[in-house]
Symmetry: C2
Subunit: 302 residues, 2 copies
């Protein structure tokens, strides 16, 4: 299969949208029309909702990020729905990022990589998210799977949560911080033999939330071969100017993700009759989000 980064770049161009919708569904927040199903069978309600979101956004975005955390509370049935939604999103023409944030020692990561990235079936994601705390051998099996299957991974570098800096912001003797050291490490992996596609980007990308401008600018410089998956836009409050710094000057190199601000867009609307128009609300929020990010991509450098 074609290189993951090249497939992602092409899909971003085709949709003219460097954005990704995050599917983090909470049963309590499903449209009222799905609440009865949710009471009877929550996993089935998540499935119906997920398929509805996919249908609503597939025309406007290149990719969807599905967070397995929101499916695991429903046990094996939840995981079945997660995997089925991956297949459904791929059928709808979307690239799928499995937001699994896994890592373990190599022996165990090999199993995670097989499960989520290397399986030869419709439920394998196009890319997954990975945690760097164990270093290279906690990540390598994902890289091997990505290389041989035209798939990718995004390694957590700078996350969007309030306490991210407790570990990621620790000051190193070389004047940088842990997340800058991780950025250099991941760039080193990303530039490895056979991992960089025709467009100049590696199948190893990075999760980079723009916490502060200088740090974001520095991480962008440190990681020329990495596409950034940029969380925090929307409900998590990152500003346009901060997010703009995740793109390279040519407007490539990042895909911005929003979850709650898109998938729950119908919550702002009066709930009558049964949120029957919830999909059009989600579609509208998705289009607005894509339009906002198009503006950022062409912002002049600071």
């Amino acid at each position: 299969m074609e290189h993951f980064a090249d497939r992602l770049l092409a899909a971003i161009r085709e949709k003219n949208a460097a954005v990704c919708v995050g599917l983090d569904p909470l049963v309590d927040r499903l449209p009222s029309g799905l609440q009865e199903t949710a009471r009877r069978n929550p996993a089935e309600a998540l499935s119906a909702y997920g398929r509805g979101v996919i249908e609503a956004v597939a025309g406007y975005v290149p990719a969807i990020k599905i967070n397995i955390a929101f499916f695991e509370p429903f046990g094996a049935e939840g995981v079945r729905v997660y995997l089925e939604l991956i297949a459904a999103a791929k059928r709808a023409g979307l690239l799928v990022i499995g937001d699994i944030k896994r890592a373990d020692i190599g022996h165990s990561t090999t199993q995670y990589a097989f499960a989520h990235l290397a399986v030869e079936n419709a439920t394998a994601a196009d890319a997954v998210t990975v945690n760097p705390y164990l270093g290279w051998d906690g990540v390598e099996p994902f890289v091997a799977a990505a290389r041989s299957h035209g798939r990718g991974l995004f390694v957590l570098v700078q996350t969007s949560n309030p306490s991210a800096a407790q570990v990621q912001g620790l000051q190193l003797t070389d004047g940088s911080t842990v997340c800058h050291a991780v950025a250099r490490l991941v760039q080193g992996w990303a530039a490895g033999d056979g991992l960089v596609g025709r467009g100049g980007y590696s199948c190893i990308g990075a999760v980079v939330s723009p916490r502060d401008l200088p740090s974001t600018v520095r991480i962008r410089e440190l990681m020329p071969h990495c596409i950034f998956l940029v969380p925090g836009f929307g409900a998590q409050g990152r500003t346009a100017d901060e997010v703009a710094k995740c793109f390279r000057p040519d407007g490539t190199g990042a895909i911005v993700t929003a979850s709650r601000s898109v998938i729950y867009a119908y919550e702002d609307s009066p709930r009558h009759p049964q949120d029957a128009d919830w999909q059009s609300r989600v579609a509208k929020a998705c289009q607005d989000f894509a339009s906002t990010v198009r503006g950022l991509q062409t912002m002049p450098p600071a």
Copy 2:
């Protein structure tokens, strides 16, 4: 329910064994008597093998650590078996550590914590493993679940894999390393209000692989309230002297885990007829392992 650390200390005393068997089953390595089942239905074979291991070791160890990575390759069915084995191990009187190594932003970690630690059913683990890269809010929902359900967690501090030091060993301006900073951070969390049990240990423990003696001694000093879950003994090659430093001078404060060296003990035996005695081989390896660790607990300090 009683405090997790107190339950674990009591179980270690009762079995006179500060050890934990790690269940990381690979289909290819199952006893030959299960290979036909494995070809037909790998998840079913893992289930039969897992129940066999539980039966073999339950008399000799206080706890079993089940690594979900080895079940996820079989999709929803694999996860179902993982959850069923948790229930089976609890019925056999074992404490169960769900080796899930999860972490995400708080909003998402809440879902993982509910799925694995807070659900009110037989498939909830007694404790789980957690990754610290996102800081407190990536861990806090597990702590809340542990506090309210008499359960626990082990936060990765120093892992056993070859590349662990790439991130964990980064040098900080205060003269320590990332894993020492994480040790201090986790100790701070562990000492929090209402988290320390009658025995002086917190429901927040730490995964500490003894990579080198000075670092292990330092981490032991930094984390007086944390029980260490100590991987790397056996197949991963940590020595007795290194592992001994994970215990406090009174012989408490650590539980040593071995996986491959115990659960595949039958591989050393001639394969006739159909490894029929595989469970007794596993039981024997488990008893030997517990006996070795008893020796370490009483080693005089260096």
